[in-house]
């Protein structure tokens, strides 16, 4: 890399311009990664935090809206619970409602109905758990919106009044709204659109959304269990897709990211194509002097690697700086190391592929052209 380093230093402006483009792509990549992680967090963090391995929904339920459409009953919980390999199973209800606290502060909630002694019962980090039919345990995120312990939240339509008794540890959201845990019968009333003291319609008493399952069963065993229990199982991660907007949001962002990777490869390819064509005379001279193809390829690729490492590194640093600021705003944004490192590695790898396609041209430079005519 004797020559590569000296060329980088010599043609600072040219390489700097190329580097700047890659820096901008890397910044954009970090911001997109942060946005997509933020959306994931807003969309499904409440599910991610659950001690659940899979959900058993109503048989043949539409998968992308399972949480709002599915209905199962108490017998199904028992069927699942009694299966070998299933550690625990419990009722799980989910309903999206709007409400406001006593000061008129609006709160949108994903009301989760659970049995207070089951394995999916909320574990508050602050305050207390489910004390009675009116108590609700909220995602800590709701505290940021001005809700406090002791507040009374009145739900629209049913006028059910819920008292905040505790907060969970950190953000627990579903479909961009905070989760609020209530006792199962309370959930059943809310879901049916009735006040708490009204009797549930015939047959609605024992119903909820899904069976929350904690098991060591593999996909095949789960399918067999499904067959026998008359349910449709989704693993915890599969169930993310049933969060409103989740699939659309994440796939759009993924598409933009894929485009950025392609742009990175193309930009690197175009730059090194022009550079290699420009360097043709000196490459012919070096080949005539006996530089091997391997030497010239190592030198050219080494140069591309240094340029990519430096620009992607700088871009990620700037992106994380900007992202750190965004993270403190209300925007769904989360800097997560894993995806950022992956994006950086992919940018470098794809940039290198683009550069390599251009740099292999040096193998076609004929050393014979070094002789003769003055050029």
């Amino acid at each position: 890399m004797f020559l590569a380093l000296r060329e980088l230093r010599f043609a600072k402006a040219r390489f700097g311009l190329m580097g700047a483009v890659i820096v901008l792509i890397a910044i954009l990549m970090v911001l997109l990664s942060g946005l997509s992680q933020g959306l994931v967090k807003d969309g499904v963090s409440g599910l991610q935090e659950l001690p659940v391995t899979s959900f058993a929904f109503e048989k043949d339920v539409q998968k992308d809206s399972a949480f709002t459409r599915s209905v199962v009953d108490a017998d199904t919980v028992e069927t699942w619970k009694s299966r070998d390999g299933v550690n625990d199973a419990a009722p799980f209800g989910l309903a999206l409602v709007n409400g406001a606290n006593q000061d008129g502060t609006q709160v949108d909630l994903a009301v989760i109905g659970v049995e207070p002694d089951s394995f999916v019962a909320p574990e508050p980090a602050e305050g207390e758990g489910l004390l009675d039919a009116n108590s609700v345990v909220l995602s800590a995120h709701a505290a940021d919106d001005g809700i406090a312990i002791g507040d009374v939240i009145t739900l629209e339509r049913t006028n059910v009044e819920l008292t905040v008794t505790g907060f969970l540890d950190g953000q627990h959201t579903f479909g961009h709204v905070d989760m609020g845990y209530v006792e199962l019968p309370t959930w059943q009333s809310i879901n049916a659109g009735l006040p708490l003291d009204a009797a549930l319609p015939e047959g609605k008493e024992g119903e909820f959304t899904a069976v929350a399952v904690k098991s060591e069963l593999d996909t095949d065993a789960l399918a067999t269990a499904d067959e026998e229990a008359g349910t449709t199982t989704m693993s915890l991660t599969e169930s993310y897709g049933a969060s409103p907007g989740y699939t659309a949001e994440t796939s759009t962002l993924l598409l933009i990211q894929v485009f950025l990777y392609a742009i990175c490869a193309l930009v690197a390819g175009a730059f090194f194509t022009v550079l290699t064509i420009h360097r043709k005379p000196e490459i012919a001279v070096m080949r005539a002097m006996g530089a091997s193809t391997g030497y010239l390829l190592r030198d050219g690729l080494g140069q591309a690697l240094i340029l990519l490492l430096a620009s992607v590194g700088l871009g990620v640093a700037i992106g994380c700086g900007v992202g750190g600021l965004l993270q403190t705003t209300a925007m769904p944004f989360a800097l997560v190391t894993g995806p950022i490192v992956l994006a950086a590695v992919l940018l470098i790898a794809l940039g290198l592929v683009g550069a390599a396609v251009a740099i292999v041209r040096i193998t076609r430079v004929d050393p014979l052209t070094a002789l003769g005519a003055n050029r």
């Binding site: 004797f2 000296r6 043609a11 001279v285 002097m289 070094a370 002789l371």
Partner: protein, 222 residues
């Protein structure tokens, strides 16, 4: 066999009706320390001779050896190694690498492989009277200075054969004389077999032997 031996070499370029006999049964022997000049009209085959002598073109027939190593037959990889280890090229003026300073131009060929007995670049620059401009890049040097650096670069790895292609094409008369004198001096001091191709009849007086190329045939000038 030391030095350069070209034995009964023919080179036919192009094919069919278009084919040109660039070299026609050429014989040339250059001993270590001998300075040979080749003159001839344009298109007579001078560059072709250098290309064949340096393993850049494979002759249609005949044999080329450098220090006993045959250049006709080996694959490109092997030819590349032989060029790196045994042959030095001096090209026309503009063939230095733009990004490198004079002293780095000299270091460059030593990075192509392992050279235990490579010359000291500063010492060699001193010898071609370019040490005071060691940190300059090609665009900051005159044509004659560039050519001196080019000659020094070709000598860095102690080649056995030095092939020089029209070294004075871009220089004025005084500069041409200096450059060719330098080539003659280095040839003798280093004991290298040198072939210089030129259009310039003024500089051939520095050569030990002069050959004339006409239509691919090489003849010794008296």
């Amino acid at each position: 066999m030391t030095g350069l031996q070209i034995t009964d070499v023919s080179l036919v370029l192009g094919d069919g009706d278009e084919s040109v006999t660039a070299l026609d049964h050429v014989n040339l022997s250059v001993a270590p320390g001998e300075f040979v000049a080749v003159v001839g009209p344009s298109g007579s085959g001078k560059s072709s001779l250098l290309a064949v002598a340096g393993g850049l073109s494979t002759p249609t027939s005949g044999s080329v050896t450098v220090d006993g190593h045959e250049l006709v037959g080996p694959n490109n990889r092997e030819l590349s190694r032989l060029r790196r280890e045994l042959i030095g090229f001096v090209f026309q003026s503009s063939n230095l690498v733009p990004a490198l300073t004079a002293v780095d131009q000299l270091r460059l060929p030593t990075t192509f492989g392992k050279f235990d007995d490579a010359r000291d670049p500063m010492e060699l620059l001193e010898q071609v009277q370019m040490a005071h401009k060691a940190k300059r890049r090609p665009h900051q040097l005159s044509g004659g200075e560039r050519q001196r650096v080019g000659i020094a670069r070709a000598l860095m790895t102690r080649p056995r054969v030095l092939l020089v292609d029209e070294p004075t094409a871009a220089l004025d008369r005084a500069r041409s004389q200096e450059v060719v004198e330098l080539l003659a001096k280095e040839t003798r001091e280093q004991g290298v077999a040198t072939v210089m191709v030129t259009h310039d009849h003024d500089v051939i007086k520095h050569a030990d032997t002069v050959y004339v190329m006409t239509d691919g045939r090489l003849e010794k000038q008296d």
